[in-house]
């Protein structure tokens, strides 16, 4: 049995190499280590090509690392039979950047939710789906069941994608750029929804983002990736307030600031 000290997810010296079409070797991830505790929110920050999405996919078990180890509740992926692996993997659910692309356009909301709830008996699926839709702010959930994805607004589609991820009660949600492309006024709604979900369900988040201000406001800890390596990691209030790595400083300096002081800060002010 895993003890309380066992992290929910642990990546140990994970590496992944791809071969490009031109035959070149691309080191997407180089000996990266990352820990996500139960109920914790970790942000993985980096620019395009930094390897952050690849690392997220390795964590989800969608791709296999060439080297290193992935442990879920203390159990190494490598030690599991494929059946056990499939079982274990449902503890982690992804939310991708493009909600529209992750939803089959010809399936109704009811069918899309039923797919995620396939372990339930058929007669309770609709009620459960409606309840989850209610949870993500698509209220009343029952009225959304017969709609197609294109009949929803962008913000509603993102909520539907989140509802699907919640269907299996995951311990960890890996959210890969869930807010890029979303309007500023929608961004707050989605972040608040993720906070609400965590408050009631106690799940952890691995939030993959290029946006350092979202990492700062949303996460407990942050890891900064550059060219496949995690160059700096730690509590948000350390890493993003007193960055030790040159690259973290450059990232912070590049964010265009609004020329007024923030209204309020959450948490303790140093």
């Amino acid at each position: 049995m895993p003890s309380d000290a066992t992290p929910l997810l642990e990546l140990r010296n994970v590496s992944k190499t791809f071969r490009s079409a031109a035959g070149e070797t691309v080191h997407a991830v180089r000996a990266a280590s990352l820990v996500v505790g139960r109920g914790e929110t970790v942000a993985l920050v980096g620019e395009s090509g930094s390897g952050k999405s690849t690392l997220g996919r390795i964590a989800l078990g969608l791709i296999r690392a060439d080297a290193g180890d992935v442990l879920l509740e203390g159990r190494s992926f490598a030690s599991l039979t494929s059946r056990e692996f499939r079982e274990a993997r449902t503890a982690m659910q992804p939310i991708f950047q493009d909600a529209t692309a992750s939803l089959n356009p010809r399936r109704t909301v009811r069918q899309l939710m039923a797919q995620a709830l396939r372990r339930l008996a058929a007669d309770v699926v609709a009620a459960r789906a409606a309840a989850i839709l209610d949870n993500v702010g698509l209220r009343p959930g029952g009225e959304y069941l017969d709609r197609l994805p294109h009949e929803l607004s962008g913000g509603q589609r993102q909520r539907l994608a989140i509802a699907r991820a919640l269907a299996v009660e995951p311990a960890l949600i890996v959210a890969d750029e869930p807010l890029s492309g979303a309007d500023v006024s929608i961004r707050g709604q989605v972040l608040n929804l993720l906070l609400d979900i965590q408050e009631t369900r106690g799940n952890a988040y691995l939030m993959i983002t290029h946006d350092i201000s979202i990492a700062r406001a949303f996460a407990d800890r942050v890891a900064v990736m550059l060219r496949g390596e995690i160059v700096e990691s730690g509590p948000v209030d350390d890493v993003l307030v007193r960055p030790a790595h040159e690259y973290t400083r450059r990232l912070l300096a590049a964010v265009p600031e609004l020329d007024m002081p923030p209204l309020q800060l959450h948490g303790a002010v140093p």
């Binding site: 450059r250 964010v255 800060l265």
Partner: protein
């Protein structure tokens, strides 16, 4: 730059109304937009998706389809000429010079089978008869800080930031007086974005070029522009100096946008939001378009208010009944004392 600008604006848009025609439906994308851009100034146009900001850019550059859209009213004046009724050929004479453009996705606008050097040379030949084209191409590549070797490259061989620089070199080849930049850095990483914005600021100063920066990113606009316009549902709802608008966000929508843009949680640990959704522009909107989402909406909001001057900044104005009411009560309170 003197505050009293004697020169005429490069662009003046007055009460512009514009619709897309989709089958039988009419989508009124612009419902009363007024902006102007003076020579060599940097102006920001801020709004969320569906606000009409990109539509305005397309109308300003004559890039709208004559059979699938129409101007319903208002005027567009470029360099003193009324271009509202211009046809495709007349627009051709304005594109490049005095108006140039820069879009989010440079790959769409760069020719994939022509080297970058030839594309820059083409724009030089069109607008600069008689100059040494090769020398001018090298000069333009230098201006956008690309190595001369890029002249022999094709667009797909360049990184996103380099493509945007290449497209900028093509635009500068026409010696534009106004660069209309629609989300020019949205697809780029923040560090690349910072480089491109620094380059634009430097070029504007050296060439005296004006810029209309269209973006959803308030921070970006704040750092690059001296004046801004805020658009909502096809209307300009607030405008003024960047400092003035950020200090006294007079429109509840601007205030909401500013709060949301800061990504800072409130005392209860919540992120600021603006409730509701943007209105569907295929339907008529009576009165203030923000009314259904506005915490301050009251009876007068069923009619769109005229612009009200915001004290403290000569150029600052807002279209909001609630703000007018606030001003009136403040004045009454002052009189009572």
């Amino acid at each position: 730059m003197s505050a009293t600008s004697p020169a005429q604006p490069i662009v003046t848009v007055s009460d512009l109304r514009f619709s897309y025609l989709r089958g039988g439906a009419v989508v009124s994308a612009l419902r009363g937009v007024s902006i102007d851009v003076q020579p060599s100034e940097a102006v920001g146009l801020v709004g969320e998706s569906g606000s009409g900001k990109s539509t305005l850019a397309r109308v300003l550059l004559g890039l709208t389809h004559p059979r699938l859209s129409r101007i319903e009213g208002g005027r567009v004046v470029v360099d003193g000429r009324d271009v509202t009724a211009f046809g495709a050929q007349q627009w051709q004479a304005l594109r490049g010079h005095p108006l140039a453009m820069m879009f989010q996705d440079p790959l769409t606008y760069l020719n994939p089978v022509m080297t970058v050097g030839r594309q820059i040379a083409e724009s030089v030949r069109l607008h600069d008869g008689g100059v040494d084209v090769g020398a001018r191409v090298r000069e333009l590549l230098g201006l956008v800080r690309l190595p001369e070797s890029v002249a022999k490259s094709y667009a797909h061989e360049l990184s996103g930031g380099m493509r945007q620089r290449a497209l900028l070199a093509v635009a500068l080849g026409c010696r534009p007086r106004l660069l209309v930049a629609d989300e020019p850095t949205t697809a780029l990483d923040v560090t690349t974005q910072a480089e491109i914005m620094a380059l634009l600021a430097d070029l504007r100063q050296r060439l005296g070029m004006a810029m209309l920066l269209i973006s959803h990113d308030l921070g970006l606009v704040a750092s690059a522009c001296t004046r801004i316009y805020v658009m909502y549902a096809g209307r300009t709802v607030e405008w003024g100096s960047t400092g003035g608008v950020f200090k006294t966000a007079a429109h509840p929508y601007t205030a909401g946008l500013l709060q949301s843009a800061r990504v800072v949680r409130d005392a209860a640990g919540r992120f600021p939001t603006i409730g509701g959704d943007v209105p569907n522009l295929a339907h008529p909107i009576e009165g203030c378009p923000f009314r259904p989402r506005c915490a301050f909406a009251f009876a007068p909001c069923v009619e769109m208010p005229a612009p009200v001057a915001v004290p403290g900044d000569r150029e600052h104005a807002v279209r909001c009944w609630h703000f007018e009411e606030r001003l009136r009560s403040a004045a009454e309170a002052a009189r009572a004392e």
